[in-house]
Symmetry: C2
Subunit: 214 residues, 2 copies
DNA sequence: TCAAAAGTGTTCTATCTACACCCATGT
DNA sequence: ACATGGGTGTAGATAGAACACTTTTGA
């Protein structure tokens, strides 16, 4: 019998933001083997000194500089890379791009990539991202998770653009407004935003910034 | 700095069956510390020589003797027990009670317990089971996963009883039949079952025994 | 006064819910 | 013939989808 090393545990995080009216994901450049030179999801070894969720949150804050973000576990995969036995616990996160400050020190800094135009990815990160996108799309329908993607105050148009970017389909303005208000996902703040030569837009906030099922 | 041991990885399985018109879960008795004497979900260390899913499936077959079962990953928890750092990857499974042969050799053999009347459980297995029940309930509505709980052929009444046992609510016979047939989840086999002094019941099968979304 | 985005209601359609009677069989 | 569970259709309510014009502003 050969000596068995204990399998390693890692966390990886799919970080989403809406940028240029598109759903984008944060990728880092691998500067060392394995899979050197490819883009990959941020992640790292877990040493057991925190909970998994705390480790994922720490990674997220490390990459984005932002706090109070939406973070949810996706699934756990074994043997994502063939180098050594282990599990990777995948999370996904939703961040407001305006609250993010990426690290820029390295030669290849982390960068946003549209989910519909991903570069070649390390390991099987394509599948992880695909699952994450599917989960977010599904949850848009029956939860308020969009709060993770938007600032404290926003116009209905901005909220609808976020939905459309994620779902990849156009939505009817009137029906969208009706649903958001009837389900009490959002409420008007009373303030308006003046932007350009047209009627000012009412500003809204999420009635709750905790996850809520509709 | 203290020496860090690599965190351990374990799989645990919530095995469901419909027994006596109730949703029941398979528990094993802990004969050694920690949590000695309590009931717990079956599970064990993962050594990395297989995929996680294979390890969970092996545990399931080991406990039930049945194959071709429905198995799905639930979530991964860290630090479920306080003894050593580690992660537990939880799965849930749906089995047809008629296909199960439990091990009976031990003094305290594995046993079925109704999910609405669980004994004191080791670790935080209550939470794991609660999550599994919630997942199964939700998926009954928009998938065909009930195929995991039923034999090849069954009457509509048996299928409905399974749904009612899981959801904990009564369903309308006519609407239930309509939905099952319209969505093509099941189809009549042409055979009937004679049971007692009344009209024989048509037998049905699932149109697919692979997971399908409706 | 014009351009540009914000704001607003109604009709139609599809889906879900509620509900009661006849049918086939064994004893 | 009777008791038992199996089988079936319709009407009302609800939720979702489609759709066009008026308002407010800055230039």
């Amino acid at each position: 019998m050969s000596e068995q090393r204990e399998p390693v545990t890692a966390t990886i995080v799919v970080i989403f933001a809406i940028i240029d009216d598109a759903l984008q994901v944060l990728l880092v450049h691998r500067s060392a083997p394995p899979e050197q030179g490819l883009w990959a999801l941020p992640g790292g070894r877990w040493d057991g000194s925190t909970t998994l969720e705390e480790a994922a949150a720490a990674k997220l804050i490390d990459e984005t500089g932002a706090r109070d973000l939406y973070l949810e576990q996706l699934f756990t995969a074994s043997n994502l890379d063939a180098v050594q036995a282990g599990v990777a616990v995948a999370y996904f996160a939703l961040v407001d791009e305006q609250a993010v400050r990426l690290r820029t020190s390295q030669e290849w800094p982390p960068a946003w990539h549209r989910v519909d135009a991903l570069p070649p990815l390390a390991f099987r990160n394509n599948e992880v991202i695909a699952q994450a996108v599917a989960r977010v799309r599904a949850k848009l329908d029956y939860t308020n998770i969009a709060f993770g993607l938007l600032p404290e105050q926003f116009t209905l148009r901005e909220l609808q653009s976020a939905y459309e970017a994620i779902l990849g389909t156009a939505l009817d303005r009137r029906n969208f407004r009706k649903r958001m208000l009837q389900t009490e996902v959002i409420e008007p703040t009373g303030e308006v935003r003046r932007m350009g030569a047209h009627r000012p837009a009412q500003l809204y906030r999420f009635t709750s910034r905790e996850p809520v099922f509709l």
